[in-house]
Symmetry: D3
Subunit: 254 residues, 6 copies
Amino acid sequence: MAEIKDIIAGRTVVRVDGRAADELRPTRITRRFTDAPEGSVLIECGNTRVMCTATFTTGVPRWRRDSGSGWVTAEYAMLPRATSERTDRESVRGRIGGRTHEISRLIGRCLRGVVDMKALGENQIQLDCDVLQADGGTRTASITGAYVALADALSWAEENHHIRSAAKVLKDCVSAVSVGIIDGTPMLDLPYVEDSRAMTDMNVAMTGSGEFIEIQGTAEHRPFSRDELGVLLDLAQKGNRELQKAQRIALSEN
Amino acid sequence: MAEIKDIIAGRTVVRVDGRAADELRPTRITRRFTDAPEGSVLIECGNTRVMCTATFTTGVPRWRRDSGSGWVTAEYAMLPRATSERTDRESVRGRIGGRTHEISRLIGRCLRGVVDMKALGENQIQLDCDVLQADGGTRTASITGAYVALADALSWAEENHHIRSAAKVLKDCVSAVSVGIIDGTPMLDLPYVEDSRAMTDMNVAMTGSGEFIEIQGTAEHRPFSRDELGVLLDLAQKGNRELQKAQRIALSEN
Amino acid sequence: MAEIKDIIAGRTVVRVDGRAADELRPTRITRRFTDAPEGSVLIECGNTRVMCTATFTTGVPRWRRDSGSGWVTAEYAMLPRATSERTDRESVRGRIGGRTHEISRLIGRCLRGVVDMKALGENQIQLDCDVLQADGGTRTASITGAYVALADALSWAEENHHIRSAAKVLKDCVSAVSVGIIDGTPMLDLPYVEDSRAMTDMNVAMTGSGEFIEIQGTAEHRPFSRDELGVLLDLAQKGNRELQKAQRIALSEN
Amino acid sequence: MAEIKDIIAGRTVVRVDGRAADELRPTRITRRFTDAPEGSVLIECGNTRVMCTATFTTGVPRWRRDSGSGWVTAEYAMLPRATSERTDRESVRGRIGGRTHEISRLIGRCLRGVVDMKALGENQIQLDCDVLQADGGTRTASITGAYVALADALSWAEENHHIRSAAKVLKDCVSAVSVGIIDGTPMLDLPYVEDSRAMTDMNVAMTGSGEFIEIQGTAEHRPFSRDELGVLLDLAQKGNRELQKAQRIALSEN
Amino acid sequence: MAEIKDIIAGRTVVRVDGRAADELRPTRITRRFTDAPEGSVLIECGNTRVMCTATFTTGVPRWRRDSGSGWVTAEYAMLPRATSERTDRESVRGRIGGRTHEISRLIGRCLRGVVDMKALGENQIQLDCDVLQADGGTRTASITGAYVALADALSWAEENHHIRSAAKVLKDCVSAVSVGIIDGTPMLDLPYVEDSRAMTDMNVAMTGSGEFIEIQGTAEHRPFSRDELGVLLDLAQKGNRELQKAQRIALSEN
Amino acid sequence: MAEIKDIIAGRTVVRVDGRAADELRPTRITRRFTDAPEGSVLIECGNTRVMCTATFTTGVPRWRRDSGSGWVTAEYAMLPRATSERTDRESVRGRIGGRTHEISRLIGRCLRGVVDMKALGENQIQLDCDVLQADGGTRTASITGAYVALADALSWAEENHHIRSAAKVLKDCVSAVSVGIIDGTPMLDLPYVEDSRAMTDMNVAMTGSGEFIEIQGTAEHRPFSRDELGVLLDLAQKGNRELQKAQRIALSEN
């Protein structure tokens, strides 16, 4: 991380919560948060709290039948008072908003990126990520937490003889983190207060082997250069390495 | 409670969880469960867990303006894996089901029943009850928990000078509990396994002063007699007294 | 009914329409109101007029197949000018409101409460209750009228050899009536003008054998005591006995 | 009508209900069918029965404000068992079908065709046509009945000083009737059994002065010639003259 | 056309675009406008431009199965900026408006009117008419253009051995044109500026043999007489003859 | 571009359409494609054809009022037969799918990224991108085409004195292109046949100054390394430079 430190050297970075520019918020992963789901995880990244459940079902949607392969989908939602102002329920409005759709699709792609569909066989896993409290980074926390719920659901499926080997289904682990440029300084893992001031922000999902599954960088407020991109990816790499360590520790506990 | 005991005397009541016929499940009320809402409560009744938040907003809906009075509404929902089989999201289906509508309206009426709308002034309180885990009695747990969230939101509003006195707004407390007849035996506070076998079941919301706000008895599977009704109401009275004690204890803590 | 009269003795009850506190509105039941349905009834309770049709179909919904049992459902709706101000159509609004859902479910439960599903066999009955004119008590009139339409549809099904015996399918009759407390006085069968002033009101569905199928008491405006509940149930019992007599007379005519 | 008779001379027209080819079904118009609406009419054309209500409201929709002119709209719907097979409610399906939309718009245009919007002033009339029983010609019966409801609503508005003169608002009367070619024979006022066999059918709305407001001829099954069109219009002219007589008689009664 | 000219003789008809009262706008039909559809046509009638595609699919909707017959449907839509003011998308509004429904149904009926469903066999053709630019007459242009796309799709189906003979399926050709009375003068093929001033307007779809498939005349603003109807039909006949010539020329090109 | 060539050197890249790995498809930009919109562009990238219109309206949405700033939004849609199999209309399905939402939001962000909202003043621009024919890269073609439509709409607004200076509003130009790795080879501007085989694909929107506005890389099928990312961005940079040249040429024509 020498480069990051160099770039942001000489500056006095004052983050609201006292963190260094390349420091993650405290992350806590609680498995078996509720009883019914095959995988049930509460992930807390700072004040952001997401409940991630994984539902294992035998069989696949119609369009996937007789393919010998499985399927993984995800749905994301916010409880109405996850945010400081109450948000109307999408069920009440009668339609799912663009943002929700976009995030649900992102989570699904990331998790599918580490699953061997052939090894899963004709079974389906549905990931539900419900934000209990939102303070920035809810989509990345969802990905990181959903991975742990997915791993638990696969272990359950192996124990219950629905699949041969959970280890074969999971090709790698996956986590995600946000990075952004605030007042010219690249920073890791943005809480809401930073996120809303970021000129550029990027969500980066990476595998345990250090490769990218998704990069979503958006710079509506100020385009970013190729050099800035490099620094942001360095930060994301550091953050994801640490999140994957937290996933491993959580999964090693019984 | 002498009568209840008499009626169910001579029988060996075997409840799955070892409780007596007139015994509540363990109840736990956690205040300040999340940070953003003016009132945020996690209520646990056995394995049923509901997150209840209260949102205080100045101003009332258009139809209520210039009345000098406030308004209280409620919305109820289940997370997809609150149940043992996953339930599709109502936001995805694009419409709210009849059961959800019915329960949301019930919760709203019960809470309005203890609020002095004039004393509330032109302010609105929205109660959101989201079931994290469902094991019977989710609507009654929602009422009991929402009351505590409502009380907290009113205290917040008093401290922030939006209302004169929280005590004046809350005319009384309110709680609710289910009762039912299973294999001929009247029982208090039914978990899912009992609820699904009940021939008759009833949800009873009562005030601290021992009066009824709502009685909803349904006997699709076997009509009930006036005598049986009497026993069920005795059980409900006992249960609500105990739930209101739990509310008082929770609210007395700081 | 001695008790009721005692309780409301010394008071001068002035009802808008000159009725005694424990008196039903004039009730008229017209069978074969339209030609197409297997059962078609117009029920008039005072100025409230509801058209109730029963549709008999062989076969049951998918989830009920191969159970050997039948199913009964109900749908309730108001014509736009059933009320003094025009109400927008729910088809135009694109969604069914909470009140409609709640009442449709109530009617369904009440009618299912008197049907032996095994004796019905794998056949379905759909009850449609459309309010032509609303003056309070539309949901209870719907239940009372739907029972007669249901009985006619079952006779039709017997005659057409879809079921063995209509008498075996119908375990009992069912009717419903509203009761409420207006200015401290318990009253039977509330028209709109009383209903809107009621502090407490209750809808009570009872079988011919005098047992309860549904009790829905709501006291958003003033909780009620156990004693008041007793008087209200007495009134409901009297009203339902009389409504069931009207049902019997209607059904005995050819 | 000499021409019609000539054309269909030598043939033995056997109509299911024994009518002559140029004969209307018995038509009955009942005013004040319900109490609440400003105009409320039950129109019966043979077995087709439609309840038509007219709602008068002061004020116009936003897009019409400050124009000094009024507005007239119509909504058409069928009760679920108006037909021999039950039709799902459009409120339940969550959307209004194309046929309903098409007919509602047709009724609206026809009635607007006889209203002087300036004389109506900034007031709105909503016509609701709900089919209680359908046996062909529901849309034309709706137009014929809605005219009477509209006339009653305008008289009400004049009596209540919302408009100066009902007579000035209504420029003319309007009625509508269906005609069609069945097995080569042109016929007037088709019941369902004929309508479903018609190769060509046409709905014709005419004013009291004998002019056309709407002609909707459709020949999905066999195109029609200009000569056939002539005969169909002759029949429609005869039918509408008689329907307008029935309207006049109904409106002359008190 | 002598009669038309007689009727509109002595008057100086000043049409915005300099045309004679009985003159069509320049019509251009471009086949193979896009590559994917079995039939793809751009039709331009003056400034009105509609893209018409025909999709041929083997198999029919469920309700049509095992009938041995095919089916033809149509859907019409406008791009948001086809009009001078932007129109909200119906997909965004979440419902299809009445006008769209009405026009889609009209197009479907007209095209079905020239198709022999038995000869088509159990195959389906879906016609999509999307208005790129609207200047009056979009529904009639859609019918005229859809016919050409339909013919191309049937040729494709014949070449690909899905049907025996395109010629047998198409019983005749069909086109449509609008006519109307503007300031008392009957005119052919109205652009938007005339259409919006027309007191009466009529859309007339005719076959190549000169018979009518649809006549939709509407006179919301001023009823029309039988004589005026005659002149309008004469104009429509002339217009359709010319449009059918344009169809023939387009289809004869390779 | 030396690096790209090095990496893909020794390999014989066989692209379906004979292009080199770093070669764009032929791009054609037609301005004033339709008459009504303030900006109307047809962009063709190979066989992909998108109609992009820009609607300029004075005033902004409610939430933006009195901010002194303008707003830019975008909506994307596909015509039903843009694809080789017909896609159901989202208006008919009654809801907008996740993919449509995601792309509409992407286009909006990219275009907002080059607009100075203060200089735009309280005016709104709505971009509509409707895909007439789809052969891969429809979202990137939409961005590239929408920019030209936006530029035209701003010129129109300047000429009509709604804004001071179009040049001040447009801070830079923007274009977008897809890149991906097919069978291990990084390639520029993927048609459908390549896109569907790509293990990794990325959409990259860049400004004229060579900075990034959006990077959306997704690797559901095979994660990609930091080195591969580098090559893909080199390709995207080359492609965007060429697209921006095409934009400039198009805009310089009169």
